[in-house]
Subunit: 232 residues, 2 copies
DNA sequence: GCTGATAATATTGTCAACAATATTTTTTGC
DNA sequence: GCAAAAAATATTGTTGACAATATTATCAGC
């Protein structure tokens, strides 16, 4: 796979390992700004501005834009410029569909490839402390835990192909995930679902883990559908 | 989505609709050469050569390389150059896993979105004539039929997100698909499986269609595993 | 003839200048 | 004062030249 499919540990931090070439650094920083809503959807981004800010030539920015476009993070209109991709409700539903099957595959493979003990740390992370945090609306703690869950599973699944697809999708839906968390009841439901998935994984029941993970995404989709007027 | 996710009707022909910008044309032609094995895996490709051949500057070729790299068709080693991506057995197995769930999703959505009559043409295409052709090892006819099947399903599924993912994967596995067809028994089995899937789709049984499509890919995976010494 | 250092060549990486296109501002006619 | 045309400005598209790096060829010493 390409270099971009390396581990992204924290949700929004830049990735030191992908900072090899000059262009990669640019891609990574722009990606960070987009997924953190520092550059919100619809923002116009000018090549010159970025070139000046980063002290590189416009060609580098241009290359970065090409990659960002390929990843679906920005949209380029010929001779007009680039804007941060604005997703409509339909696109989010499509992404939920794809996430459902891919994240299902992720936990299935992860379960098949690991011993039960592998999941102990995660099970502890998704314990009483986090439950309390979620109950008290500490979304940062919950987001961080989910990121660890995700990362651990991808690692265990051991498929670079899958990792690449999930990373791309993750970038596109991160800001929506954060917003969805605000919907009353969604976070605690998601928390319980993750506990269930982890139990199945520790039990080595790959099929059940896949079913539960798919349920998890489908339910997130339902919440989105119900509240999309507020979320978009 | 980006421009690349437009319809790719025939397996290896260039796509007129994507030939807007200069770079797009290059990407499309290079993609064609790679998936047709005109540029086999491992081939070194030089920026200068292509620039001269296409009568454009090296920068255009460079941009095209960036996109091709992002799609996983070529590999670029800094200061050394680009080579057509060479897939190992592991990568193919990973791709089979991903295809299984994504193509399953594809037929499920396609079934849900269509009336039974929608599939009549395809059912006729996968009729006695094609069966005879397959029996007589007319792989071109079968490949073409599969391409139509695929295209029709993607169209019906109506998800640009899914289309983008499947298009990328398709390019990467096309040459392997062609080779797999040579394995005695695989083509006719695949043919029957597609007939079954089409039946389920016409019956409106989305779940069953998904199950059968996943079976289809899993069985292809098995054949690959068994014969990979000959296939790679 | 072989090996290692060095020069010559080839290839990729980066840039700044110019061309083409779009946007904004100014001017002109009414 | 308003509308349309024209000029000025800004932004993206493309190119060729030069720098940095890697590969190949040459040559000296043994």
């Amino acid at each position: 796979m390409t270099k971009r499919n390396v581990t992204k540990l924290t949700p929004v931090s830049s990735n030191p390992r992908s900072s090899g070439s000059n262009t990669d650094k640019l891609v990574d920083e722009l990606r960070r700004r987009i997924v953190t809503n520092q550059m919100p959807p619809g923002s116009r981004i000018r090549e010159n501005e970025l070139a000046e800010e980063f002290g590189v030539s416009r060609s580098r920015v241009r290359d970065a834009f090409g990659i960002l476009e390929e990843r679906g993070l920005i949209e380029r209109i010929p001779n007009k410029g680039a804007v941060v991709m604005r997703l409509e409700a339909d696109s989010f539903l499509e992404l939920f569909d794809v996430r459902e099957v891919l994240e299902g595959l992720m936990v299935r493979l992860a379960t098949q490839n690991t011993e039960p003990e592998y999941w102990d740390d995660l099970i502890e992370l998704f314990g009483d402390d986090l439950e309390k945090a979620v109950a008290e609306n500490d979304f940062n703690a919950y987001m961080a835990a989910i990121a660890v869950f995700r990362q651990t599973c991808i690692e265990a699944a051991g498929s670079d192909t899958l990792r690449g697809l999930l990373d791309d999708i993750y970038d596109r839906v991160l800001s929506m995930t954060r917003r969805l968390m605000l919907v009353p009841g969604r976070a605690s439901e998601g928390f319980r679902q993750h506990q269930g998935i982890l139990q199945a994984m520790k039990a080595g029941d790959a099929e059940q883990a896949e079913v539960l993970k798919r349920d998890n995404i489908r339910s997130a989709r339902q919440w989105f559908l119900k509240y999309n007027d507020f979320l978009l």
